[in-house]
Amino acid sequence: MATLVEHVEIESLEKYLEETWKTPKTLYGALATVDHKKIGKRYLVTAFTFLLLGGLAAMAMRIQLARPESRLLSPEVYDQLFSMHGITMIFWYASPVLSGFSNYLVPLMLGSRDMAFPRLNAFTYWTFLLSGIFIYTSALGGVMPHGGWFAYVPLTGPQYSPRLNMDFYALALLFLTISTTAGAINFIVTIFKTRCPGMSISRMPLFMWSTLTTSFAMVFSLPALSAALLFLKFDRRMGTHFYDPVKGGTPMLWQHLFWTFGHPWVYIIILPATGMASMIIPTFCRRPIVGHVYVALATVSTGILGFGVWAHHMFATGMPALSTTFFSAASMGVSIPSGIQVLAWLATIWAARRHVLATPMLFMLGFICLFVIGGVSGVMTASVPFDWQATDTYFVVAHIHYVLLGINLFPVLAGFYYWLPKMTGRMLGERLGKWNFWVLFIGVNLTFFPMHFVGLRGMPRRVYTFPGGMGWDWLNLVESIGAGITGIGVLLFIINVLWSRKHGRLAGPNPWGASTLEWSMSSPPPEYNFAVIPSVRGRDPMWERHDTLLDNPGDDRHEMTNPALSVERDSVHREYRRADEADPSSADIQAWRVLDDGKETLESTMLDADPQAVLRMPEDSLWPLILSLAITALFIALLFKAPVWSLLTFALCLGCIAAWLWPTRATFPPERVA
């Protein structure tokens, strides 16, 4: 066996990898890129745009509700506004924004060069974007969905909703489901199979645990939504009777199917954000999180238990006491793992070596406050007799907004302040960040805290106006003022982001002195993420080399004995050894850590992350975009009930899939069988 030692200069290696992995800055490059970092950033920008659209709808609603008996908006317009507010926020903002962070960060945190299925990744972005455009084009015909985000039948069935409003709803969501499911599958395989050597399952960051749990929850909950929507579509347009009590169906079937999806979905839109909290809070406490294993277990438990509580959305439907009691107990029980997570964060803050009150940490502290308030109102509604009074009132609106803003928006903003410097290379403004936090925190509490009271005083939700003299007037006015302040808070964030593009302080690789692998390379990262695939020996690889790191955030000079993490070392040794000289398919020893034969990354075993194989990664490709456009055409044909066009566009989709899957030189050069 020949042994060669080759000196690989880091500089030439980096040059080669940069050339191999980069996406050209052309229109083709923009449309065909499969780079997870670009796709992640697109997700974030697009999801944030949907946040603003949903927010505008909310502003219109709050202006209408500032005074009793207001007639600014008609009931039909108001119905469309509150429906699109909920639908946009819950489907096109809350989950995709977390997907965006996951997309960007997962390969970087795992020590990999890209996701397991890069083209599928691009596909999930295009379908997310196109499905959002699809549902918003309903505005052109004045037929935006108007049945609320959970679309109860028979109101949304053929008799009471004969126009296209709810067809847009059903089809756009089925379209989005394709995106979300594909994304979930991608994350699961990436997290299980492409971790860097040494990153055993107990050493991977907590954000990975929450992304993994969320992805499994998506795989098992989205089909319930698909079933519900398919039955709705068939009842509306094909004359079936799934939900029709006269011919043997029941509206309860919709509720059961929808909430079997809907409850896990609300955990899906908060769990990755709690994972982000578990990454950010330890950094600013200058210590690893207290109870890492318990937090991981709590995350997974919440995901699993979340499948067993759906009927707490149905307490007032006349279900038997045996059912309601079970779901009530389960709903109280599911809050326990969340409590464990909160206690872990509080313990970390308590046991901190130093407290660093940077903007991301402020948003995380605000998140804990809002989470607790929202969680308390949630446990209250888990009690059936209380829920019979509070359901369909503003009390529930208060609860959902505390948990959504608290456990999604605030961690997302913390995440932006924390990770945008990694993405762009520039810090956001710290002073403006503090103003951002306080204005938003005050605005959110002013808007939603009074809703607890106005709900308990009997104000129903989803009313386009209300009579004066019910004891609701002043509270509604305060809420509307609060909404304005909240809007200013969001605006401050946008201003900060735009300002920092030119004027933000340069970030360097690790401005926060954080502990995980995404902080080991330059900001923004190179196209290929890691010149040499790292090996790790613990949960906090960036903190395991040098104790002084913990006391000096922002100190970029860390001496790493792990050559993969050191970009200052000028070379690595590469030792060639072939087990079988005649076998051209085996790669050699240390060269696997360099992986510089085209676009490659490492596949490792599921539990221990032992290196297993070299994965060839695909080149940039237009097929994800083309297939997404074909699917859009299919959904348009279905919307207008055009059978011939539906079949033709469906065949087109199949053709695109066939072309995409055909082996390419890069990933799988075809050989003839001997």
């Binding site: 397991a116 299925f117 599958i185 991608n186 699961i188 395989v189 299980f192 199979k193 050597p197 795989v219 098992f220 909950s221 989205l222 089909p223 319930a224 698909s226 079933a227 398919l230 068939f234 094909m238 004359g239 079936t240 009777h241 799934f242 029709d244 009590p245 006269v246 011919k247 043997g248 169906g249 029941t250 079937l253 059961h256 079997t260 090996s535 087990a579 398919s585 085996s586 790669a587 020893i589 696997w592 596949e603 075993t605 032992d610 290196p611 297993q612 194989a613 070299v614 994965l615 060839r616 199949l654 066939a658 899957l661 082996p663 799988f668 075809p670 050989e671 003839r672 069988v673 001997a674």
Partner: protein
Amino acid sequence: MSTSAFVHDGRGPLHAPLPVRLSRARAPGWWGTVLFCATEAMLFACFIASYFYLRGSVEAFGAEGGKYVPLTRPLIMTALLIASSVTAWWGEKGLEAGNGMRLRIGLALTFLLGAAFLVVQGIEYSSRSMDWTTSAYDSVFMAITGFHGAHVAGGLLMNAYVQIRAWLGHFNSERHEAVGNAVLYWHFVDGVWLFILASLYLSPRLF
């Protein structure tokens, strides 16, 4: 699982040559197919749960939940699908032993048996003059069997695609990921049918 991929020379797994993505361990694409089957399984679980929910909670469900549906055709359909899974398995095993012709024959037989399944299903629908606008039972029954039939058709398309690649010589005993994925999906579709048979056809006669 794949320690055979490593050469043991006393220096441990970190110091062994790695295969460049040949089918020794399960490839990422296979795991992706497994997860896809998981999500589709959940879809059928929701469909079948809807059948039982409607049957158990609504008086006017229709056709007594399917108690009097004759079993001959469904049992023929079951036999066709099981046979098609056997031929698919046989073909894949043949390829793993290096016999490319056995793969092609196996896939072709699977295709014919799967197509026959769909033909018998069509006869089933037309001979019972099934119309899903009649009652909730008909809606649910045709939705479930119709979606399953659509999945069989999808499986046949995958089969055809893999057959084309097989005839072009893309596969050998070491490289055949696409075959494994397509055959796995076919077994999954087969398995779903067994649940449909048990729920829609057999269970009304039992309880």
